[in-house]
Structures are given as structure tokens and as C-alpha cells.
Symmetry: C2
């Protein structure tokens, strides 16, 4: 059966996005220094060969274990689920060939026809809540896995439903001080995970946590 997973980079103090990195300030990375913080968070990825190829940034790049990890994560995804705000940000900034190449289920409150993009990405807009979206994602994933793409509130909803099997966390050695935290609003269940593998590099620590 498909696994449900989260794949996210966090600052050492637990933020997945720095303060100021919003739709309103997208074009001003100097606003609250969000651009520099984001760059510090993601520096590990920009020179990876698979990432460069996938975003058509040109040839070359690293091909070690981090690159293998990115490829493996990308190839395991049969469907994505995301929130409305994440979609709206991407709608403005993704290239025409949106970078998912799977069905993407968008949790929203307004009905809208599916939006088909070149390259295999189709956005489906669902108004019946996260459990229905997950059921539909399972049907379309063809046995591959389902990524809860974000934002934080959507990931928290799925964590609170107890359906997240794996957390792929990249922890970067920078303190943001403010921004959007991944882990908030969680119920008291105190789920435990098993550390499945760690890839440690100078730029970040990549850990796969599997729900026990």
C-alpha cells in the first residue's frame, strides 16, 4: 500500500519558511532578509545533479548520496497533496510545466475544474477535507507513495490524523528566529519514530523517520 510521507527542510529552530517569505513579499527577498535565510536553508540542494536536471538549470552537479536521496524521493511519489495557500503561491511561480509530474490534490473550499499542466501534473481541487483527499490520492497513486507537500497547516492536519508513515527531514544549521514552524498544533499523542537512515553532510543533516 502507498505510504504517506512528508519531505521538508527545516532550520535548526524548526522553521520551514522564514518570516517575510510570503506571497506579498515574494519579489523582495531582502524583506526581513528572507532570501538569505531561505538560501541558507536550501544551500544543500542547488548543486545536486538531479535537482539541476529536474528544474532545467543546466548540466553538471553532485551525484553522491544526497543526489540519490533526492532522486529516490522524487521517484517514489505517485500523488501530492497540498493546501490552497501553497498552491496559490506556486500558481504564480511554477513554470508552465509544474514540477510535480503527478496528480496534485489541493485542499480548498472553492470548487474548480481540474487544471492540467504539460508534463503530467494535474491539479484537482477538493472541498471535502483531508481524509477524502488522501483516499483519492491513494486511488491515483498506482501503488507509489503520497507526499504531503505542505504548507505547515496541511502537514499538521495529516499528522493529527495519525496517517503519516514517514518524515524525511533535512535539518540545516541556521537559526531563523521567526517564520512558519512545521511542528505546531499537534495533539498530545507523542508519536514515536524510528530513525531509518541519516545522511550527514557539511551543509545539512538528512534523516528519514519512520513511524513506529
Amino acid at each position: 500500500m502507498s505510504k504517506v510521507f512528508v519531505n521538508i527542510a527545516l532550520s535548526l529552530d524548526g522553521y520551514m519558511a522564514p518570516e517575510g517569505m510570503t506571497l506579498e513579499h515574494w519579489d523582495n527577498p531582502e524583506y526581513k532578509d528572507w532570501g538569505a535565510k531561505w538560501a541558507a536553508l536550501m544551500s544543500w540542494v542547488f548543486d545536486q545533479e538531479f535537482f539541476r536536471t529536474n528544474l532545467k538549470l543546466g548540466p553538471g552537479g553532485e551525484t553522491g548520496p544526497v543526489n540519490d536521496m533526492i532522486r529516490h524521493t522524487t521517484e517514489r511519489i505517485g500523488a501530492n497533496i497540498m493546501g490552497k495557500r501553497m498552491f496559490e503561491g506556486g500558481e504564480r511561480s511554477w513554470p508552465e510545466e509544474a514540477p510535480f509530474h503527478t496528480p496534485v490534490y489541493v485542499l480548498t473550499h472553492e470548487k474548480r475544474e481540474p487544471w492540467v499542466r504539460p508534463g503530467g501534473t494535474t491539479f484537482h481541487f477538493l472541498i471535502d477535507g483531508p481524509e477524502t483527499a488522501l483516499a483519492q490520492a491513494r486511488q491515483s497513486a498506482g501503488g507509489k507513495d503520497i507526499r504531503i507537500a505542505g504548507g505547515a497547516d496541511v502537514i499538521q492536519q495529516y499528522l493529527n490524523l495519525g496517517v503519516v508513515d514517514e518524515l524525511e527531514i533535512t535539518l540545516a544549521p541556521v537559526l531563523f528566529g521567526s517564520g512558519r514552524r512545521l511542528f505546531e498544533n499537534l495533539r498530545e499523542a507523542a508519536p514515536r519514530f524510528r530513525i531509518d537512515r541519516v545522511i550527514d553532510t557539511p551543509a545539512a543533516t538528512h534523516t528519514l523517520y519512520v513511524r513506529e
Copy 2:
């Protein structure tokens, strides 16, 4: 010169103590399940030989890289700094031979004579703020390092002074959902660290971050 460092275990969602683990509920680990959460956070330490010897828990225990890490951390400390609340909790629960074996500077607002314990621990009560405490700790540390022991608010004060050279973080694969976070109330400077070393074990990931 002495380095200033923090050595702390965190849940995956960034808490150094679960909700309910307070002076009021110290004797009831079932309160909000704090005992089980604390055990999940600290499970990596209880079977380490150096820890067992230091707390006189009996012979035996693991002697691998985690044990070496604990010994190294313990032996590098020339002085500790802690907050009043942490001291008051320990005053009730530490054995007569308090487990520091160094001068301990307690940040407080009430004058009090130094409190000498057997085994080399003397608590000094300072009312002149964190910078004065650090200066005194440096004088007494004899070239060894200074540990900011806690609680969270005291660590945050020193992070905001920009004087913390190293963070030794143990990250345990459990989500607390609530409690006392380490990283809060930080200023906007976004300090970056270098990942100096990672020890990954099934129970926790131990990372040494060095300020760049």
C-alpha cells in the same frame, strides 16, 4: 580561551521538556504523560557507562562513541551557568553531591551566600545579569569551557548576546506536541553554524554545531 556551549536534548519538534514536567508535578510523571515523554527523549543516555558511573547507577553500560561523547562533554566543563528555576528544581532533586563538580553560576534576583556541596560543586548566586555571570565563569573555568546549562530562557539570553560558540544537540525521534521549546525569542540575526560532527544511533542523532 574558554568556549561557551549548550548541551541539550530536544524532541523532534524542538522541546527540551514536555508539558507537565514542572516543579508542581515533579512527583507525578503520569501528569500529561510527561514521564513517558521524558523517557523517550532521554532513552539514549540511561545505558551509557559514563552516565551510569557518574550517577552511581551501578557497573556496566555501553562504551561506544555516544559514551565517549558524554565523557568528553563532561570533562570539558570548567563552569556551569543556569537560571534560578533550574536551580530550584535541582535543589530539591539533586543528590547531596550535586552532579556538576564545577562552580555553578545561578542567575537570580536575590543575594545569597555561595552554597558549597561535597564533590566540588559550589553554587554562586549572581544578581548582575548574564554578561557578568559569564565573565565570572570565564575567570573560574581555568581555561576549560563554560556550559550554559539552562533553562530555555537562559540559553536564549546567551544566544541573543551572540556569545554561544557551540550547540551540542541531541535530537530524539519523538514529537511532544507541547512543552518548553529551546529556540524561541531569538533575535533576527540568523546565526549560521557549521556541522562539526554527527553521531547517529537508532535512539537519537547527536550533532555538534559550531558558530561560523
